[in-house]
Amino acid sequence: MAHSVTANPPNRVRLGWSNRILARPEVGAFVAAVVIGIFFMVMAPSFRSADSFFTVLYQSSVIGIVAVGVGLLMIGGEFDLSAGVIVYSAGLFNSMFCWYLGVNLWVGAALSLVFCLMIGALNGYLVMRTGIPSFLITLGTFFVLQGANLGLTKQITGSVSSTDISRIDGYDSLGVVFASSFKIGSVTVWITVIYWLLLIALAAWILQRTRSGNWIFAVGGAPDSARAVGVPLVRTKILLFMTVSFLGWFVGMHQLYRFNTLQAGGGVGNEFLYIIAAVVGGTLLTGGFGSAIGVAIGAFIFGMTSLGIVYAGWDPNWFRAFLGVMLLLAVLVNLYVKRLSTTRKVG
């Protein structure tokens, strides 16, 4: 707890580096990631290669892209339980619309984007308009989308998966944008990893260095105070919901153009993975505190664990139990960090 006093301006105290680092939201997650990484490197020899590192990154990015949005939304004080299913709604919408009407896939992708943004806006509008907790509103959207995914897919294609769209115009170009990969040496790098890293940098910059970021923290930490000093509360929150549904659409496009067909029942349960990534990364469940880098580390822990268990040759069924333990530990660390950062250290 060493405090160093700078000479100018007088009486200004800067906290020692140890305290400043401890007050960051992502510290707990970072320590956990290092421990888990070392653990699997010891337990599973095949985990140590560069190839498997990039496989972990790919796995992390597919969860991590939406998790960044969910993290921002949770810092803004809201939940989105429909974030897992909307990924598949986006893909199914695009696939079946274009297959049924025989139009270019780019048209379907654009309409699917509009559809997802409308779902996000609707979630946000209902939450802000009615004052009902977002947990309930998006639970409703979650069930509606889940049912519609299955019902409409069955109706249109006659089965529970979407049809082959690889011969419809636009499939290849969309594949290049959303689901391509390239080689560095012997290592395969999926493009989602690049998008994910760019997105983390963008979200971190927005949160720390822009007016919108200030507003996101404020509407999550103390919504009424934020509104009273002129922060557009309703607009900020609705845009956060739309960000989540936009990122859901993005990953939906990746799934569709990587695998060509989608299972109509997919995505259920992923909403909790996003929330776990955000919470493990130091986001407060009550809003107002968190970081984009923390959420990224949370998603990376998910990626390491899901593959590490396989590489170590264990029964993958244990994966969820492990995630549950991680979540509990993260909540405890968060509680401790929050207490640390709101107690007086100086002055």
């Binding site: 301006p9 009486n11 200004r12 105290v13 800067r14 906290l15 910059w205 260095r209 822009t210 007016r211 200030n214 507003w215 923290f217 404020a218 930490g221 103390a222 009424d224 105070s225 934020a226 509104r227 009273a228 000093v229 002129g230 922060v231 557009p232 407060l284 107002g288 505190f289 929050k338 950062s341 709101t342 107690t343 007086r344 250290k345 100086v346 002055g347």
Partner: protein
């Protein structure tokens, strides 16, 4: 400390000119009538004191002026134009800044971020406009120093400050951003004697810089130190509306303490002097 006020005060202000006028303004929340038939003028270069007991309608009155809740009866004019605020942002855009008793700050945000919340300084054009972090830190620190608050670390979450210090940050912020009208909701309630003195000096300084000040308080002594015009609310109605020349501290204190009710109470309690 008056230099901030003078620097930021609107140059177009003329002493005595009405900034906010209310005519028969009322407000109901569903079936509950919080405010009825209020006539109030906030003039440039004057301090209007609003006094009243808990539940008298003081908070509702300032929420109408600051844009938190729109009124639903009567007329509100700002600079002579009739309008109805849809959000606090609109009131701020008219140069009306408010310090709320209960809605002051966002606890987990740093002191400087709280200071500039809703009015951040940015550089560059919108989507790429970054915050001018260094400049905002310096201004926040300097403005707090002028109020006599030494925040040792401007980067600490504001939740780590004491209640009085938090209130002072909120006041410093309103003084810095409020160019025309400054509304203070019981600013001295959470403060000690010395800090209350600082706040009262600010109220006087704002008046001298030509701003219209609305000062809401329980305390007639504080009100009488700075006020030019006094309004006492009771159960949502104005029961007294006088200028400084027409009312003395004694009368103000008696009215505030309940006036007639107090006499009646003393009769009921009936301690007869033997």
């Amino acid at each position: 400390m008056t230099d901030t006020l003078a620097e930021h005060a609107d140059r177009e202000l003329h002493r005595g000119e009405p900034l906010i006028e209310m005519e028969a303004v009322g407000k109901s929340y569903g079936a509950i009538r919080a405010l009825k038939d209020i006539n109030l003028r906030v003039n440039a270069g004057e301090v209007t004191c609003v006094l009243g007991d808990n539940g008298a309608g003081k908070s509702t009155l300032i929420k109408i002026m600051s844009g938190l809740h729109p009124h639903n009866e009567g007329i509100l004019r700002v600079d002579g134009t009739e309008l109805r605020f849809g959000s606090p942002r609109e009131a701020l855009d008219h140069g009306i800044a408010t310090v709320y008793q209960d809605l002051a700050v966002v606890p987990l945000l740093e002191v400087w971020r709280n200071f500039f919340l809703g009015s951040e300084l940015t550089a560059g054009r919108y989507p790429l406009a970054g915050l001018r972090v260094g400049q905002m830190r310096e201004i926040a620190d300097a403005e707090l120093r002028k109020m006599g608050i030494e925040v040792k670390d401007i980067n600490q979450p504001i939740g780590t400050l004491s209640g009085g210090q938090r209130q002072c940050v909120a006041i410093a912020r309103a003084v810095y951003f409020g160019a025309r009208v400054l509304i203070l909701d019981e600013p001295t309630a959470a403060l000690g004697v010395k800090q209350s003195g600082v706040v009262l000096k600010y109220v006087a300084a704002a008046r001298d810089a030509g701003l219209g000040v609305v000062f809401i308080t329980h305390n007639p002594h504080h009100a009488y130190l700075v006020g030019d015009h006094f309004v006492i609310l009771k159960l949502g109605r104005a029961v007294l509306d006088r200028t400084r020349a027409e009312v003395g501290l004694d009368q103000l204190t008696t009215q505030m303490a309940g006036g007639d009710e107090l006499a009646e109470l003393s009769h009921e309690l009936g301690r007869k002097e033997a």
